[in-house]
Amino acid sequence: MKVNFILNKHDVTYEIEPSEVLLDSLRKHHLVSVKRGCETSTCGVCTVLLNDKPVLSCSVLTASIEGKHVTTVDGIPEEIEKIAHYFGDEGADQCGFCNAGLALTIYALKKENPHPTDEEIKHYVVGNLCRCSGYQAQFLAIKRYLGGAQ
């Protein structure tokens, strides 16, 4: 079957199987910035934005996104470069496998709640697992991106 949606501001049409999930559809179309980390909707590395909201792309049936907007890091390079700058500055980027999904979550946070408390930041990004960094450097980078602490 076909599904029409808007990917990174471009109209696209994908030929898909009904049981296909968005993660696999995107990677099949060479959007390798979206990654698979698990099969149980638990790790968050597959996060993309669906109508500007962070979603687990492994858990969204591609058939269900007719007419919706999908954003990956490839679609918002200037913002991602900014986030990457703060991550680099805080040493928060290690292996990088979780970074693209996390960056989209952070971008969505800034749009949804531009001045969150520390608790609200952690609450928003807690579903993006990281095994390398220990989370603290990421947190400091996020605060700087949001315009908070030094």
């Binding site: 999930v21 909707s41 687990l56 269900s64 990004v125 807690v126």
Partner: protein
């Protein structure tokens, strides 16, 4: 999970017709848990054309469409104002925002997941479920039902009531399933629910009666209620905790919950 066909009906009537045609036809909730299954699904029925994704605050009740995403419910001001935010807190403790922007309230309730944090909290509130074809029942009654339900869950109604709420999830990490979860809500009548025992959430009826019928709501009463919890709430072993440990958690957090929400007008 294999799906043969994917349809988006334009009416509940049409949706119900397709659903009734085969046991292998199913309604798409969020889809988060569904892909775990090795199920063969003939027809996946997507209800997004049917305007079931909304939260409406009527004066005396809040109406939530079954297709509404958990995250939207969590942050809605009307939901946040219930029981000083204990329902929002319970919903917010489910995985992360990426998960809650996919999972729907309908899917979470129909699944009757034993570890469900939001079912435990909702059991303490006056919650009614509306189905198509025409059927209305309380959340409590739905959970007690043994047979599989064939109607389509369309709306969840929370009757507004003033009171304090409490929710506690005990877990190894902040993302894990609960070893046990506890909710209390007191709007004049104390409600206590315990879930992930590891069995599904239930109301602690005996403990609630003990509290609501007592004339003196003092520390001694609360201690007796703690003991009552251990006697009347069945817990069991699983990989996350033993029966005995769950009993201690249930007693401790019910007592703490009651102390936090009890209205001081006895």
């Amino acid at each position: 999970m294999e799906i043969k066909e994917y349809v988006k009906p334009h009416s509940l009537e049409e949706a119900y017709l397709i659903l009734s045609r085969s046991k292998s036809n199913t309604i798409l909730g969020g889809g988060v848990w569904m892909k775990y299954t090795k199920r063969q699904i003939d027809t996946m029925i997507d209800l997004s054309n049917l305007s079931l994704n909304h939260i409406i605050d009527h004066h005396d009740e809040i109406e939530i469409g079954a297709q509404t995403r958990l995250r939207d419910i969590e942050v809605h001001p009307s939901i946040q104002s219930i029981g000083n935010g204990f329902l929002s807190q319970a919903i917010g403790s489910i995985v992360g925002v990426g998960f809650r922007n996919v999972a729907t309230l309908g899917g979470s309730i129909i699944g009757k997941y034993p570890f469900s944090d939001l079912i435990t909290a909702m059991l303490c509130l006056p919650v009614t479920l509306k189905f198509y074809p025409e059927e209305v029942m309380s959340l409590h009654a739905f959970l007690e039902q043994k047979e599989k339900h064939h109607a389509i869950l369309t709306h969840i109604i929370i009757k507004k009531t003033n009171g304090k709420g409490y929710f506690k999830k005990v877990s190894n990490t902040m993302l894990d399933f609960a070893i046990l979860n506890v909710a209390c809500f007191d709007d004049g009548k104390m409600k206590i629910a315990i879930g992930s025992r590891p069995a599904k959430p239930i109301l602690a009826i005996d403990a609630m009666d003990m509290y609501n019928q007592a004339s003196q709501k003092d520390d001694q009463l609360i201690a007796s209620i703690g003991d009552c919890i251990i006697k009347t709430i069945p817990c069991a072993d699983d990989d996350r905790g033993t029966k005995e440990y769950r009993e201690v958690l249930a007693k401790t957090y019910v007592m703490r919950g009651i102390k936090e929400v009890m209205s001081h007008e006895s």
